[in-house]
Structure formats: C-alpha cells, structure tokens
C-alpha cells in the first residue's frame, strides 16, 4: 500500500507541476484547470487551518483553559486557566462582516482599527532594537591606528601576542574601506530627502551618487537572489527526474 501510494502521490505531484509549468508556454486550459484546482484546495485548506492551527490554539484553548484528570486519584489539576474575556473578541471580529451592509459598514473599521493600532504601537517599541545597533555599526573609524603596513599582515605563523596586536589594529586599507562605507551611507541617505529641493552642487551630486550606489546595492541583491531562484528550479527538476524516476523504477523495474 505505502509504496504504491507514495508513487501515486509523486506522480500526481509531477502532473500538477507540469500543468502549472504549461503557462510558461501559453495560458492554456490545462493551466486554467490546475490554477482553479490550486485556488480551491488552498481556500479549503485555509478554512481547515483556520480552526485547527489558529483559532483553536490561539483563542478557544486559551478561553476555556485546560486541565488534566489524574486517572488514579481522579483529581483534576489545572494546566492553564481559561480567560473567559476572550469571548468578547468574537463580536468585535464579527463587526468586520458588516462591511457588506449598507448602513453599518463603518463598524468593520473597528476590528481593523484595533489591528492597525497594535501594529502602530509596536513600531515605537521595535524601532531601536532594529536600528540602534545598525546606526552604531555605521559609525566606523576612518583613521588608521597604525601605518606599519597598508593592509592587515598575515599573522597565522606569528606568536599569540603579535596576533592579538595585529588583530586590534586598524590598517589604512580598512580605514579607506570604512570611509567609503560612511560616504555611501550618507550619500544614499541624502537620496531619500523629500521635503526640500536638492540645490547646490554638493547636494545634487550626493543625490545622484546615492542613486548609483543604491543601484550597486540592488545589483548585489539581484545576484545573490538569483541563486535561490535557480536552486528551486533545480530542486523541481530533481523532483521530477531523480525522485519520481527512482520511485517509478522501484515500482515497475522489479526493484
């Protein structure tokens, strides 16, 4: 049973994959079929997960609490208290459903207002956690602490104190890189000034420079993202040509 089932599962997966890939050729009836199948299944799964994964653990269980009854002594111990006030959330949430009514549609803004309110409050709270360390790490020293050599010498074969000393130093090459770092961040920052006109050579220049530097950044992102995308395609190929074929071999090749 299991092997056969597994093969069917793989096979159907392969067919579905090809069905969706068909849109690469043209938007055909085949694609349309699998698209709607996908949408339907996804919607169905959403409704399953709605209770199973979210409302039950997040809302129902916490509202009712939980207790275990000891089979021997038959004494019930509370594991988690029930927070009955969670019940109040149901009507609040249901107000959203008034959006389709003519007269009370404004009330749908109440749950939305609450959700947006929480999000907004958090912004104040997380700003520093996210940016503080990054502001600090942008304050890079740009003055070399030593001029013994231009770049950091290779210290693998030196005694420990020497290594420690070299590790602690800031060599000119690094200092220059740091300077470039600081200039880049300032230039890029200047590109995002909206409320006043960028007049004067310096501001205009840094604005343009900022845009170019941003493009370099985007290029780099593009480069490393491309890897991820291709790997997924490769993984699909391996799904079809390696896994499915292996399983098919096992099924029919007497394996």
């Amino acid at each position: 049973m299991n092997e056969t089932f597994f093969w069917w599962k793989l096979t159907i997966g392969v067919i579905a994959t090809i069905g969706l890939y068909s849109v690469l050729y043209r938007e055909t009836k085949l694609y349309r079929f699998f698209e709607h199948l996908f949408l339907g299944l996804a919607a169905g799964f959403t409704l399953v997960a709605l209770w199973k994964e979210t409302l039950k653990p997040l809302w129902w269980d916490k509202m009712t609490g939980s207790a275990t009854i000891d089979p021997i002594t038959n004494v019930s111990t509370m594991d988690a208290p029930g927070y009955w006030v969670y019940g109040f959330l149901l009507p609040i949430g249901l107000m959203g459903y008034l959006v389709f009514t003519k007269r009370h549609n404004w009330m749908s803004r109440i749950p939305i207002g609450v959700i947006l309110g929480f999000w907004s409050g958090q912004q104040v709270q997380i700003w520093w956690n996210r940016w503080g360390a990054q502001i600090y790490s942008s304050m890079q020293p740009v003055w070399p602490t030593t001029t013994d050599s231009f770049t950091r010498p290779y210290s693998a074969d030196l005694p420990a104190p020497e290594q420690a000393y070299i590790a602690a130093q800031l060599y000119p090459s690094q200092a220059i890189s740091n300077l470039i770092f600081v200039i880049t961040i300032l230039a890029a920052l200047s590109y995002f000034f909206f409320s006043f006109d960028m007049k004067g050579r310096l501001l205009k220049g840094s604005n343009t420079l900022g845009r170019w530097l941003l493009m370099i950044g985007f290029g780099a992102i593009f480069g490393s993202t491309v890897m991820a995308r291709f790997v997924l395609e490769i993984d699909r190929m391996s799904y079809i040509f390696v896994e499915w074929m292996d399983q098919t071999g096992k099924m029919f090749g007497g394996g």
């Binding site: 089932f5 409704l47 009955w84 019940g87 959700i115 309110g117 409050g121 950044g217």
Partner: protein, 307 residues
C-alpha cells in the same frame, strides 16, 4: 527542580481567568453576550461620533505597546517574585499581559478570514449560476474547496479526538481519509506551491535577457554588480581565480594581491557598498513606518483608509 515545577504551574488573575469547568462556559457566553449587546449599541450611535469611536479603539490598542516600551522593565524576575513597589508592579503586569494582548490582533485577523473565503465563493458561484465564461473551472474550484474542507476536518477529528495513543502519527496506521488528506495536501498543494515558486527562475532568465541592457549608468552599475556577485557564487570559478592569484603571489598569504580573490571583491562590494546603501534605504522605510504608525495611532489622517 522543585522551583521549576512551581514555575510550570500557571499564574493568573482570578478575575479574568477561570478554572476550566462548566461554569467557565457560562462566563464565556456572558462575555459574548456583552459583546453582542455592545455591538447593537454601536449600531445606534450617530454618524458624527463614529470616527471618534474607531479612533478610540485604535488609540487604546496602540497605547499598550507604547506604555510597555516606556515603562521600566522588571529585570531578573524570579518565578515567585512579588513586585517591590509600584513601578515594579506595573512592569510585572505589563509583562504578564503582553502574550495575551499579542493574541488579540491575530484572533481578530483570523476571525475576518471567512470574509475572504466568502468573497471568493461568491464570485465563483456567481459564475456558475450565470454560466459565465470559464464557469466550468469555477466548478473545479468549488469542488476542490469542499473536498479539502471535508477531508481536512475529518482527518483532523480522527487525529485529534479518536486517537489517544497518537498512532496516526505513523503512516502505517493510516486509513483512507488520512491518505486522501495527505494526497491533497502533500501531493498537490505543497507540490504546486513549489512549482509556482520555481517558475520564478524562468522569469528571471527572460527578464535578464530582455531588461538588463546598458542603457544608462544606473542600469550598467546594477548589471555589473549583479554579474560580479553571480560569478563569485560560482565556487569553481572563484576557486580557479584564487589559484591563479596564488600563482602570482607564489602562495604568499600576506600578499596584497590576495584581496583580489573574487569572493574577497564580492565581499568588499557587499560590505562597503551594498550594506550601507541598503541600510540607508531601510532607515527611510523604518522612519516611514514609524511616522505612518504614529499617524494611524493618533488618528491624524483623514480620507483613504482612515475615516
């Protein structure tokens, strides 16, 4: 160990929290009832005060996190500590309240979910009834949806309530429903996810061929850094290049030329050009979010999404 067990026992405020028991259910119904009454009261309010009502809800929810942030955080809190003084007590309260408050937004979001499914079903039922173009595909969609719901919940009930010894966690004990569910979910949904996702690779290729042209300085620098990164990701090329450099430097690790290894150069570009430029951009976005958050929280905007 004792201390840990003591901690494992839950703490709760006897007013909000109740022992799991039949009467708890009554309290819950009471809460729901109060909510519904409240809802009907809201339906009566005059048009002019609506905005302020919505704003109050928004403000109160935002205020919690702001206060949580500004209030001194109680440190080094032991499992059975009693607060020392008012500030500490406030800190304790906020700390305990946080997880519950964090739930509210999600519960509300998910309570709204059916609204989305309603819209989807509406559109496709309409198509079927009106026999519009492609109505047959809408039938496929609806059937798939119903099937998934039925199988999904059946499987869930079997696994959740009729399986005390967790036998169904192993495939060999499965029945037809469990197989059906696995087929629909693992066999179809998951694979279709992956298929759609992997399609991006093709689009990238064609986009690169079509759009990555040396038209302006911007386009050129973007292309150049993209290519540099891609080459540096090709381990073999990178390695061969470093071998060549080893040849020049006759394998002196200290030699300056070693900085021209592809991975070194790519790393340098990332660290000194990508990170700062993107970081500057992100600062802007972060500030934008902060500002937008403040405007929403304090209800300063009018029109658009705000009343």
């Amino acid at each position: 160990m004792i201390e840990l067990i003591a901690q494992a026992a839950p703490e709760f405020n006897p007013f909000w929290g109740t022992e799991p028991s039949p009467e708890a259910i009554w309290k819950i119904f009471a809460a729901i009832a109060v909510g519904i009454v409240f809802m009907f009261l809201l339906m009566r309010v005059p048009t002019r005060s609506r905005r302020s009502i919505v704003m109050t809800f928004t403000f109160l929810s935002g205020a919690f996190y702001v206060v949580y942030y500004l209030w001194p955080e109680p440190i080094n809190r032991g499992p059975n500590d009693a607060p020392s003084g008012f500030v500490d007590a406030g800190g304790f309260f906020l700390q305990d309240a946080l997880p519950k408050v964090a739930d509210i937004a999600n519960v509300l979001t998910y309570l709204l979910l059916c609204l989305g499914i309603y819209s989807l079903t509406r559109i496709h039922l309409g198509r079927v009834v009106k026999k519009q173009k492609d109505w047959s595909f809408s039938v496929v969609l609806l059937i798939a949806m119903v099937a998934m719901i039925a199988v999904g919940y059946w499987d869930y009930i079997l696994k959740e309530f009729n399986d005390p010894d967790k036998l169904l966690t192993k495939a060999e004990n499965w029945g037809g429903v469990n197989y059906a569910y696995d087929m629909l979910f693992d066999g179809l949904i998951q694979q279709m996810d992956a298929a759609m996702f992997s399609m991006i690779a093709f689009f990238i290729l064609s986009a690169a061929y079509r759009a990555f042209r040396i038209r302006s300085i911007e386009a050129t620098v973007m292309m150049a850094s993209a290519i540099l990164l891609m080459v540096s990701l090709m381990g073999a090329v990178d390695y061969q290049w470093s071998e060549i450099i080893k040849g020049w430097t006759n394998d002196q690790p200290g030699n300056f030329l070693n900085n021209f290894n592809l991975s070194e150069v790519a790393g340098w570009v990332k660290n000194n050009l990508q990170i700062p430029s993107i970081r500057a951009l992100e600062f802007g976005v972060g500030l934008g979010a902060l500002a937008m958050g403040l405007r929403i929280w304090l209800g300063l905007e009018r029109g658009g999404v705000s009343v």
